[in-house]
Symmetry: C2
Subunit: 338 residues, 2 copies
């Protein structure tokens, strides 16, 4: 696959994400401090467990988007610090609840909170972070913000339930898959970006533009995530290859390969994904079938489609360093393999 | 134990809760309709699962408190309908997440959502209801209300985590137990009642009075719940007797019996609650030890103390039917055995 050929090059020079990070460096430091401060609780297991999953890091892409969108909208105050923290807390709560859902052994390269502390603690600390994020929104005091984030949270939960329902169903359509990822992933990207326009008190058209940027970037991001689950090196991805396969998740690569496959191949997908009867060598066979049908490459093509929409959505905004960084991040999310 | 002697009498005449229910009958009907309407989602598993746990019923005590407190405060509009629905959604989300926590087989007399649909669905539908409750608050539009309920939700989650940490620890102190139940149970009772004063736009003293009423009623309610877990008939309680014992929860009856017990008895508690090595006959032995040390009767006495504080808190309000019903509900919660 073309998308990883130039990995070594990317490691030598700063990535688009690094460049975006540099432009919002001070704000991001403030957000990191706010995260530590606001996850505090006298119940020490809470900061301990939340700290584990937050420190494990990830790219903090969602709060970065809020900060960058705010900068794009020319705001010079500091509301974005608290609200970017909200976004990260909602995302972290989702990860903690996903651990229960996914029974994944490895999250972002370290042992999952769930594996270390158990299902119960993951659920409850997730609940705490989620409640805390609403406390922070109330502190910010904007009903507009509260409306966007409470609605995004409800849709996010709907998306997670939809995903549960499509699991193990090899006949899931591409459109049902899209519904799931629009809800479970893209909605929070959309909200994270829209916040920038609200904080900057920009007109509706710019709110909608930033929302569309986030929404389409989120779809592209998730499609690529699903591609990487069959493809990336474990050390660069930070999660076990084949997680989705082992859990019987029906993601875009599988949907494409299933529909393009012959009877015998479909039987394979049904046995492994639907009946969950998996044997050694099955993951390799799955990867072979994805390769045979060009399912990964074509999934990346689909992601590029959404990426293109995301980039056009920013057309309204005048050229600037931060706008260019936001455009480049779209390509980064699609071309990343780490 | 005295508290169940007059059960048959209670069944013949309307209980204090029935009388309270009659006074807020129209509002409660509206709340029940609102619950059905607002738990709707195009993802049909959500209303299905949420409907299961909501229909299983329970007494809807928390939303009733919001309605009654609103009436006590003389409000004649209808904001209380939406906000009582919020309270029930937060409570239901907690029940769904508790199912993961508790692995309880039986909730309110029917199979738990968790047993029927699995951990994952319980967590995610709980998340949906929780998010939806914030959407409803935003619709109501009061930052005061949002502040109270977001803070209550965070404290509630802290309480659940604390409970997790005291599980299996026979040396848990009565004060640590109180901290847990003040957070995990009483805080939502307090918020439910305080909402009445906010909706009725009453002065701070009345807000505080209603909050104190709810807080102390909530503590008494939870202590009695913990007593009933060792005591009530299964059919009248709607949950399996001995759930707490089997899960190694350290509740007030156990705390009292452990501290009053001799070495051999403490060894028994350590084996069953701490090491979770339980044999047939152990629950009966536990009940025998609680009886021997008067632990259940004395726990009920403790509950009466909080009940008395709850009743005095309402002293500010002039006499009325609804006030009397709220006072009587305190006794009902303490004397109930069904």
């Amino acid at each position: 696959m073309g998308i990883v050929v130039n990995l070594d090059d990317q490691r030598k020079k700063p990535s688009a994400l690094d460049r975006l990070g540099t432009l919002i460096e001070d704000d991001m430091k403030a957000v990191n401090q706010e995260i530590i401060k606001r996850m505090h609780s006298p119940v020490s297991l809470i900061p301990e467990l939340a700290g584990h999953i937050i420190a494990a890091g990830g790219k903090r892409l969602r709060p970065m988007l809020t900060l960058a969108a705010t900068k794009l909208c020319g705001h010079t105050g500091n509301r974005q610090i608290l609200l970017a923290t909200c976004i990260e807390f909602i995302h972290t709560a989702t990860l903690l609840h996903d651990d229960v859902v996914d029974e994944s052994e490895l999250r972002r390269g370290s042992e999952s909170a769930n594996a270390l502390w158990g299902n119960q603690a993951s659920v409850l600390v997730g609940d705490f972070l989620f409640s805390r994020s609403f406390e922070l929104m109330v502190e910010d005091g904007s009903l507009d913000v509260l409306k966007i984030l409470s609605s995004a949270s409800a849709i996010l939960a709907e998306g997670e339930v939809m995903q549960l329902l499509t699991a193990n169903d090899t006949e899931t359509s591409e459109s049902a898959y899209l519904d799931v990822i629009e809800s479970k992933t893209a909605i929070l990207f959309a909200a994270a970006c829209e916040l920038g326009a609200i904080i900057g008190e920009r007109p509706t058209a710019e709110r909608e533009a930033l929302r569309a940027y986030g929404q389409n970037l989120g779809v592209a991001f998730q499609v690529i995530d699903d591609v990487l689950d069959y493809h990336a090196k474990e050390e660069s991805l930070g999660k076990t290859i084949g997680d989705d396969f082992r859990e019987g998740k029906v993601t875009l690569p599988v949907i494409l390969a299933f529909r393009r496959g012959n009877d015998e191949e479909r039987e394979f997908w049904r046995r492994t994904i639907e009946d969950m009867t998996q044997e050694p060598g099955d993951l390799a066979r799955a990867q072979g079938l994805l390769e045979k049908h060009g399912a990964l490459d074509d999934a990346v093509e689909r992601a590029r489609h959404y990426g293109a929409i995301a980039k056009d959505a920013l057309g309204l905004f005048p050229e600037s360093e931060i706008k260019q960084a936001l455009l480049d991040v779209v390509d980064f999310c699609i071309e990343r393999a780490n």
